[in-house]
C-alpha cells in the first residue's frame, strides 16, 4: 500500500519573533498525526531550539534566512531546519550537554532537548556554509482503549 504522506515548507527571515511562528506552524502541521498533547509539546520545544540556534549562532542575530520543512510518511514525522550561516566546526562536540560557545548567556541545552524529545537528531554542517538539523519522531504504537 502507498504511504500516507504530506509535507509543508516555509522560509522565515532570521528574526526572533519568527521562532514562535515556526514551532507553532510545525506543531499545527504535525497534529495531522495522532500525537498526545505532550508529544506535540515536545515537538514544539525541539523546533524552537533548532530555529533559535540558527538565529543566534548561525546568523549571530543578524540577517539570514531559515528554511523549515516538515513531512510525514505514515507514522514518521521528519522536520528539517536549515540555515546558511556560519556553520558548526565539530557537530559531535556541539551536541554535548552543556557545550555552548556563549557560556556567559546560554546553557548548552538546546541539542540535549532535541535529543530528549525526538527519536533521532541528525546534524549536517559546514563552516561558513550553514547547518541542517534533521529531527525525526514516530507516533508510538498505542494499545487500544
Amino acid at each position: 500500500m502507498m504511504a500516507d504522506t504530506n509535507w509543508v515548507k516555509f522560509e522565515i527571515p532570521s528574526d526572533t519573533r519568527n521562532v514562535a511562528f515556526a514551532r507553532t506552524a510545525v506543531a499545527l502541521f504535525a497534529s495531522q498525526l495522532d500525537w498526545t498533547l505532550d508529544e506535540l509539546e515536545d515537538i514544539k520545544v525541539a523546533v524552537s531550539e533548532a530555529v533559535s540556534n540558527s538565529i543566534i549562532h548561525g546568523y549571530q542575530l543578524g540577517e539570514g534566512v531559515v528554511r523549515v520543512e516538515a513531512s510525514y510518511a505514515d507514522r514518521k514525522l521528519t522536520i528539517v531546519i536549515e540555515d546558511y550561516g556560519q556553520g558548526i566546526p565539530d557537530v559531535e562536540l556541539a551536541q554535548e550537554t552543556g557545550y555552548t560557545t556563549i557560556p556567559e548567556e546560554r546553557m548548552g541545552l538546546g541539542f540535549t532537548f532535541m535529543h530528549e524529545y525526538m527519536d533521532e537528531v541528525l546534524v549536517v554542517s559546514e563552516v561558513q556554509k550553514g547547518t541542517k538539523v534533521i529531527l525525526i519522531k514516530e507516533v508510538p504504537q498505542r494499545s487500544e482503549g
Binding site: T16, R17, V19, A20, D38, E41, K44, V45, S48, E49, S52, I55, I56, E105, R106, M107, L109, G110, T112, F113, E116
Partner: protein
C-alpha cells in the same frame, strides 16, 4: 508574553503569562535583573509559572542566570504551580536540583516568615 513583579520583604514574586523563548526572554531578563540590583535584600525568587504556556532553553537560561546570583546571596528559587511539561524541562536542565516547587506564593512566604526556609 506578560509578566508582573511584586516584592514582599526578601521575596520577589514574578508572575509569568505566555511563552518565554528567544524573543521574549531578553526583556524579562532585563527587568528581573533590575530588581536584583535595586533591591539587594531579595533572597527568594518565586516564579509563578501557572500561566506560562511555553519555555525552552532561552527562557531557562534567564532563570538560571538569576539563580547563580541568588546562590551567592544564600537565597532560594521556587516554582509555583509548574505543570508537568515545565517540571520536565527543569529536570533536564539540572535546575530541579537547585529549585523547589510550591502550590502558591503565599505558601512560600508563610514558610519564610515562620523561619522555615
Amino acid at each position: 508574553m506578560q509578566y508582573s513583579f511584586e516584592t514582599v520583604g526578601q521575596a520577589l514574586i514574578a508572575k509569568l503569562q505566555g511563552e518565554l523563548d528567544l524573543h521574549t526572554s531578553p526583556q524579562f531578563k532585563e527587568e528581573l535583573a533590575k530588581f536584583f540590583t535595586t533591591q539587594p535584600q531579595i533572597k527568594y525568587l518565586i516564579m509563578d509559572v501557572k500561566n506560562l504556556q511555553f519555555i525552552d532553553s532561552s527562557g531557562l537560561g534567564v532563570i538560571l542566570g538569576r539563580y547563580r546570583e541568588l546562590e551567592q546571596r544564600g537565597g532560594r528559587l521556587f516554582f509555583v504551580q509548574a505543570n508537568p511539561h515545565i517540571k520536565r524541562v527543569l529536570q533536564m536542565s539540572g535546575m530541579q536540583k537547585i529549585s523547589e516547587f510550591a502550590d502558591s506564593a503565599a505558601d512560600v512566604l508563610e514558610r519564610a516568615e515562620g523561619g522555615h526556609l
